[in-house]
Symmetry: C2
């Protein structure tokens, strides 16, 4: 019997904990600025136990990127309703993306910022494929709204970019301690995009 | 007499050239991933000549950040008309920002991405003050449109964020070789934001 937390913690919990701690380190110090030693110290575990879970820093980072950007596409696809107006679906798309950002903020930031240093890797390619599917989903909803007469004519690709820019940029300024929730912000963005700034005739 | 380009180039030209080359390096490799040796080699000048112009890497980076983010505020303020509708002014604000991005893309990217590693420095503070003035300018134009009846009621702060997000995110995906100009893109964004996606009654 032992009460050493290194031994008694469930492996899945410990793995999750390592991913969370490492996400925050990568997010705040960058990929180059974070070492495996930093991660093991921040988790209060030995380096050998850390290496038991992740082969090296790249492997650890890969798992963070795939758990955030990688799952966003599936997460959103599973939660956007298939019935209703295109506007309702796009609203859901935006709010669910914001919810995902809220839940996985450090991993999201780590994937967005540190990624730059990762170069033209296979990981980058995997992520880009997921990103393309995500963007394609949004474009199909915009096209649906044009086809059914809800929306006026538009450049679908650029409108999709505009919507995603609003959500993607949030990592840079959002402060959970003094702001609305990401979901509230996404709701305000949606209303603005749907109705526009200009006064509508009564 | 000598034809050594190190000696014959005008100091101002050389300084500008170093800033341009270093911007691209910082933008593509990050701050940590770029050394003074990398910069001197990419400029084909000696390290001692590089150090003649910039005391160290931080000094070089500081000059890049201040030349991009630092000047954006003044650049835009000088070019947004003071007469006309609020909509026209906001359109100009967006197009001029896009034009600045187009002209100083590498410096913009270097300032946006590598900045993360620079931490809570005085440089960061200087930049944030400039950013605040820039954002405040946009908010005053939105408020002007509400006050004169052009725009409906809105959350001015969040609408300003939405507009700036569209422009700020461009660094991440814009590819000058296969895209519209940043100014064209900003124009499309503006039209969408002004009129909204939903069909307007005729």
């Amino acid at each position: 019997m032992t009460s050493d937390p290194e031994v008694t913690a469930q492996p899945t919990d410990r793995r999750q904990r390592i991913l969370q701690v490492a996400s925050e380190l990568f997010a705040t110090r960058g990929y180059d600025g974070t070492s495996m030693r930093d991660v093991s110290e921040a988790c209060a575990i030995s380096k050998s136990l850390l290496y038991h879970h992740f082969a090296n820093k790249e492997d650890l980072y890969r798992n963070i990127v795939l758990s955030s950007a990688g799952n966003l596409y599936d997460y959103v696809r599973d939660r956007v309703p298939t019935e209703g107006s295109a506007a309702d679906k796009i609203r859901a798309f935006m709010l669910v993306t914001a919810e995902f950002f809220d839940k996985h903020r450090w991993a999201w930031i780590a994937a967005t910022t540190a990624f730059w240093s990762a170069g033209e890797s296979e990981l980058r390619q995997t992520r880009l494929v997921k990103r393309d599917s995500f963007e394609q989903h949004l474009r199909s909803l915009l096209q649906e709204g044009i086809d059914n007469g809800e929306f006026g004519p538009m450049d679908v690709a650029m409108t999709g970019r505009l919507i995603l820019s609003s959500l993607n940029w949030m990592y840079k300024w959002y402060n959970p301690e003094k702001s609305k929730t990401p979901q509230d912000i996404a709701g305000i963005y949606f209303d603005t995009l749907l109705n526009g700034l200009a006064v509508r005739p009564a």
